[in-house]
Point group: C2
Chain length 462, copies 2
């Protein structure tokens, strides 16, 4: 290995690599302290060519590589164990922004927030928002096909990309950057890198799709009897494609937030079993109020809702969203949690809860399911909090025992064991066991074709 490391140090300019433990340390720590890693060298290229140089040397010496963005991943795919760590954090340029083509070309190390800001300044919307948007990077969100709250209207990250520039496993540079909406010249190569978690190459830049800014965003918070009732509202709430957010929270998770965080208060007088948060993107405030009053009014008539608040100004809208944004953080008040990020077909959400809630009680009686999230996409963050008063560490030892029945139910219902966080290290065995043999054969065939020596993030995904 050391000959390869020496070659890297020789070929790369000063400042494009380090072996200083203090500088490397933050790159080895996962923010939840779930993973801790090690690396012989941290490479921080400033250009695509420097990435290519580094990869070529690693290829020649068969050194494994892990690419890293904002280090905010949730499945262990960003914590090295002896891989050469290539951080894209110095490649932050916005290379181009074209409002006629509604396209923006940006380097992999740019934070999502910087992309959102640049689009906003150009009077455009880039419709991807995540709680980590201040630190997560374009390369990371593309490599993990991140989701978020706007998938319902705009799709996952994959749908927001025209093409990518990527350094392949042999160090060659694939240039798929484009703003063309139509290009039928071969397989969709850029798409292969989206959600590939760095196992096929390193994304160094991407051309992203921009959208018109909505004139007004109307928000509402609704108290409901059940998760099934939320699903029953979806069709009417779509309002001809104007629905842009459809987030659901159970009482236990909602209360953990509103009862514990300073500055967050419950806008309702009474508690409700479930809560629905929605946004409609419209032209004018008047149109927003009219849609919200109309669809919520009809839902009241049908006895589908218990109570509702239609946001009347930006402060109220921000306060409501803040509850949803604190859902993950709020769970710490419930003790330890075993977390799942799953999808089921939308019309199977109620069935999923019925079966999964029962299965969880069989494994750990008294445990408290907190299933919240993007129900409009069928995506449930199905987290299981420890029984009240029980031992945190003892409970967390049940992670796998709780997860396997959840995954079994998901498989039976035709869902996905990873909706938006990816496979990484955490779910690699689950994928191999649960995907069909034909799917695994295809995944491995593509991996072997593009990375025959398995140097690109080799412990991850496939």
């Amino acid at each position: 290995m050391s000959a390869g490391i020496d070659a890297l140090k020789e070929a790369l300019p000063t400042g494009a690599w380090t072996q200083d433990p203090d500088l490397i340390d933050p790159h080895l720590r996962e923010w939840r302290d779930k993973y801790f890693g090690k690396t012989p060298i941290l490479v921080t290229p400033r250009t695509t060519e420097e990435v290519a140089t580094a990869v070529k040397i690693c290829a020649a010496h068969k050194l494994p590589i892990m690419p890293q963005g904002g280090n905010t991943g949730l499945v262990g795919g960003n914590t090295p164990q002896d891989e050469v760590l290539i951080s894209l954090k110095k490649m932050t340029a916005i290379r181009d922004l074209n409002t006629t083509a509604n396209a923006m070309t940006v380097e992999a190390g740019a934070t999502l927030q910087s992309v959102l800001d640049a689009a906003d300044e150009a009077n455009r919307k880039f419709p991807l928002t995540l709680s980590s948007q201040g630190s997560c990077t374009v390369g990371g969100v593309l490599s993990t096909n991140a989701g978020g709250n706007h998938v319902l209207k705009y799709g996952t990250t994959k749908e927001l990309v025209f093409g990518v520039e990527a350094v392949l496993a042999d160090g060659s540079i694939f240039n798929g950057l484009t703003s063309l909406r139509k290009d039928n010249t071969g397989y969709d190569l850029s798409r292969l890198f989206l959600g590939a978690e760095g196992t096929l190459g390193i994304i160094t830049a991407a051309s992203l799709k921009l959208f018109p800014k909505p004139g007004y965003v109307q928000r509402a918070l609704i108290g409901l009897e059940s998760a099934a009732m939320a699903v029953s509202l979806l069709e009417a709430f779509r309002a001809g494609g104007k629905l842009a957010m459809f987030e659901v929270m159970p009482e236990i998770g909602y209360r953990a937030v509103v009862d514990n965080f300073d500055g967050i208060r419950d806008p309702f007088a009474n508690s409700h079993p479930w809560y629905l948060l929605c946004d409609w993107e419209v032209e004018t405030e008047e149109e927003g109020q009219s849609i919200a009053e109309n669809v919520i009014g009809k839902a009241f008539e049908n006895n589908q809702v218990r109570d509702a608040i239609i946001a009347l100004n930006e402060t109220q809208a921000a306060d409501i969203l803040s509850i949803r944004e604190h859902m993950s953080a709020g769970q710490k008040f419930l003790g330890g949690s075993v977390k799942h990020d799953i999808t089921v077909p939308i019309d199977q959400i109620a069935t999923f809860f019925k079966r999964a809630d029962a299965a969880m009680q069989n494994v750990v009686p008294g445990c408290r399911p907190v299933g919240f999230g993007h129900f409009g996409d069928g995506n449930i963050h199905y987290n299981i909090a420890q029984p009240e008063g029980s031992d945190r560490e003892a409970f967390l030892k049940n992670w796998d025992a709780l997860s396997q029945p959840v995954f079994d139910i998901v498989d039976t219902l035709g869902g996905s064991i990873s909706a938006e966080h990816g496979i990484g290290i955490m779910k690699r065995e689950d994928l191999a066991e649960r995907a069909s043999p034909v799917k695994m054969k295809l995944l491995r065939a593509i991996k072997s074709a593009l990375d025959p020596d398995r140097i690109m993030n080799p412990r991850v995904m496939v």
Copy 2:
């Protein structure tokens, strides 16, 4: 070869294959009579399993296969030259239609029209319309990533697909059917088959995305001074994402239609150098009229338009669309045509015309460019009609001499030499010569990984 053919005849049920020349003949003729083929056997499976059986036998005997849908392709990818011809035309079932998930699972041989009808009956929209929709099939439009008039709002076919079922080159069945909007468990395998022109496997079924039906479609036809003027209107005409069609026609092509077809008349009193046809998808007729009057009124104030007709009823709207739909057919009145289907970045459309029109005159003085189509996507059907009074056959011998300068200009401007028709036989050499070596290496690596013996449509694309 004959042992393999015998094995096919033995393994498949009666009625699932034929060697009768009369029955095979229509499958060998391209509708424009540009290609004519031959095949040792026509296989017409009724089930995915029968497709798999046929492919397994072909794989064992290394017999090349060509899959065929509605036989409406435009680049020679559907005309066999001794390949085993597998027609999907008997697999027409709509397996499932789910309005909660807004998803529909349909077999590859179903016509696009039958999909449009089924969606319509369920009060949904499937937003792909093509002039060949009565005969083209789901498998064909997915394999060629067909475009059409609604790409501007809904994207190409690729964007309208959740996943596919496909028979791979070894006869195994990949099941990617799903209605999940979020699934981060590995590379986007279904996507690989979209636009692959049958070179990686045979699509046997697909789950398609459905959309809410617009309440009202407002149409307008506008007379313009130049193609550049059309592009200058795009931004204002988008109207917050409501613009669903933005089609442009030059005077020569427009006149060929309105002056020659019975039942089609020019709604304008005067002729204009260019014409723009647009649709807005809105809630109500009132909203449609208001948007059209507003954006067109502002364009008049800015001297961007010469004349305009806002459709006031369905008949008027249908009459206007009919002109656009006859653009291809209308060209026969101009004599022989050399045809190109290209994309350039939207803000390069005017530059493209300036350079390409001049280049064409250099090759064949007096030739008449007819560049029309989906300018909102940067997609121009840049067809070159013979000089008036010249010899048709002599002119058509200039096909390659006219095409190469067009492709050169497209490459310089960062465009695509195939926007929506694909590569097929026709542009295979152009792709190999014009794509970057890294792109060709990737295309070939994927082809080899999934079809190592090159039995899947081996003369096509890559």
